[in-house]
């Protein structure tokens, strides 16, 4: 059996989306900045895509900027808010310890410039509260940037409340919604979101295209300077095929959120129940306040990479930590942020189901994970120490999920 269960890392482009992109490679290939018909046709399609994306987010078309992905959108949002704040002498930014690196590393770059960054602690359930954000806001706070759903453990932050707190304080609020947009309904006005990032490849759109929503009135700073594309705020000939593909994928995803969530919920329950039977294992992130396609576990006594490689041999594609940190030796900063000790943070597994997942697949995942965990524990000296009592267990033998 083959089960691709790493949809939080990336998704397959849906055939419908491929179909939608094709004409923009070979037929409507004009440069949207060109004045003749082939160019103007491209321009029309571009602006129509902008309207469609805006509608889904509850934004105005003028508030939608197309980027090369979630990372670029995160970078531009944060840098723009920093520059706006700077002009008013505000050089403090609030975020959390478990943001994506596109956020954290951009904040680090700003710290080198003299910005002060407060990274909020995350509760052990993987959530920060609006109250905590409120308490962290200062006179000189230029930006609050907090992700909507975490990419590793899938926990959902109280974005609307955080937005309200920021609005009241007059602080710009950005949310990285890359992992949320296809799982949760978003309305930027209702939720008081000033800026928001999206990446197409997380919901069956193509890689290399994303959206930055920025509320009217927020003047963006260019990350890429040059031509007058995107109202002068993002230079580069527009990736029209990609933009159209993203738009179609987004509409499709959002139209099926409730339906998919209902389905995911059952599979999630089954997965969590099944994996909880593995002794000395524990779910990471809140049991309920999480994206319904995400399940993330830590297993005592084993290491994540060997776990996932052996699962791959069984046809199960899942991840340990996130794709982005796979080259790194440090355990996931997300798991450390929710208080997992290093010992178990090394032994995590993220399962992110696709919309076509079945009960059989879930059962196969449970069976495969159980087998591999048992096998690896079989010759893990760390596990040996835990069993013999030489080292204390971290988890209870059976956690109540």
């Amino acid at each position: 059996m083959f089960v691709y269960a790493d949809n939080a890392a990336t998704t397959a482009v849906s055939p419908k989306v491929v179909e939608a992109m094709l004409p923009y490679f070979t037929e409507v290939y004009g440069n949207p900045s060109s004045l003749y018909s082939v160019g103007q046709k491209a321009k029309e399609v571009l602006e129509e895509a902008r309207e469609r994306v805006a509608k889904i987010l509850g934004a105005a078309p003028r508030e939608i900027y197309f980027t090369s992905g979630g990372s670029e959108a995160d970078n531009q949002a944060i840098i723009s808010a920093a520059r706006i704040g700077e002009k008013k002498g505000k050089k403090h930014i609030i975020s959390t310890k478990f943001e994506h690196h596109a956020v954290l590393h951009t904040l680090q770059a700003l710290e080198k410039e003299g910005f002060e960054v407060t990274l909020l602690d995350v509760h052990t359930n993987g959530v920060v509260t609006a109250e905590e954000v409120k308490n962290a806001i200062r006179e000189d706070t230029a930006l609050v940037t907090i992700m909507y759903a975490n990419n590793e453990i899938g926990t959902i932050q109280p974005i609307a409340e955080i937005g309200a707190v920021c609005k009241e304080a007059g602080v710009i609020f950005h949310t990285d919604a890359v992992q949320a947009v296809s799982h949760l309904h978003i309305d930027v006005k209702e939720q008081n979101i000033d800026m928001l990032s999206i990446s197409a490849h997380k919901f069956h759109g193509p890689k290399g295209v994303g959206v930055l929503y920025a509320r009217g009135g927020i003047v963006l700073t260019n990350v890429i300077n040059g031509g007058a594309q995107e109202r002068g705020k993002r230079a580069g000939t527009e990736n029209l095929a990609g933009i159209v593909g993203m738009t179609v994928a987004l509409e499709d995803a959002v139209a099926h959120i409730d339906e998919n969530n209902a389905k995911f919920e059952k599979l999630q329950d089954r997965l969590i129940e099944g994996l909880s039977k593995i002794p000395y294992s524990e779910l990471n992130g809140d049991r309920n306040q999480r994206v319904k396609s995400n399940v993330n576990f830590c297993f005592e006594g084993i290491e994540g990479e060997s776990l996932l490689l052996l699962l791959d041999d069984k046809g199960v594609a899942v991840s340990s930590g996130s794709a982005c940190t796979s080259g790194s030796l440090d355990p996931s900063h997300v798991l450390l942020a929710i208080g997992r000790p290093h010992e178990v943070a090394h032994g995590s597994l993220r399962i992110s189901l696709g919309e076509d997942a079945t009960e059989e697949q879930v059962d196969y995942i449970i069976k495969s994970v159980s087998e591999v965990v048992e096998y690896l524990r079989g010759f893990s000296p760390f596990w040996g120490d835990l069993v013999s009592g030489k080292r204390p267990h971290i988890f209870a033998e059976h956690s109540v999920a």
Binding site: I302, E305, S328, L329, F379, S380, P381, F382
Partner: protein, 144 residues
């Protein structure tokens, strides 16, 4: 350009010499769970100071398991002197290479063996130069 060479994947998937030697003559353990890898080596050494048998237990990533497996293969049946000559480079080469950020796994394997030999020396009152052996106390994660 795969993550690991075929040799690594083979030793990872079918690790040689996995297990425990109950009446081992030398046991060595290096690494720690905080760093994400522990290797434990069990040696059976005969009167000619030849390694009759070797087993390992490893907690760690694919290359840690493969390095342990390959290292045990390389010293099995070898005189202790020779086993002590085993370098992490030899382990890496025998595995057809390791990704740069995984090279420390082969270092761990080398050190685990040395540590097991040291344990044997200690038990049997054989003198040695401590400088030739890793000092597990000063280990910090992946600083090799």
């Amino acid at each position: 350009m795969a993550l690991y060479s075929e040799k690594v994947m083979d030793h990872f998937r079918n690790p040689r010499n996995v297990g425990v030697i109950e009446d081992a003559d030398g046991v060595g353990e290096v690494g720690n769970p905080v760093c994400g890898d522990i290797m434990k080596i069990y040696l059976k050494i005969n009167d000619d100071k030849v390694i009759d048998d070797v087993k390992f237990e490893t907690f760690g990533c694919g290359s840690a398991i493969a390095s342990s497996s390959m290292a045990t293969e390389l010293i099995k049946g070898k005189p202790l002197d020779e086993a002590l000559q085993l370098t992490n480079k030899a382990v890496t080469e025998a595995l057809d290479g390791l990704p740069t950020h995984k090279l420390h796994c082969s270092v761990l394997a080398e050190e685990a063996i040395k540590s097991a030999v040291k344990n044997y020396y200690d038990k049997n009152g054989i003198e040695y130069d401590p400088k030739d052996f890793p000092d597990p106390e000063v280990e910090s994660c992946h600083m090799h």
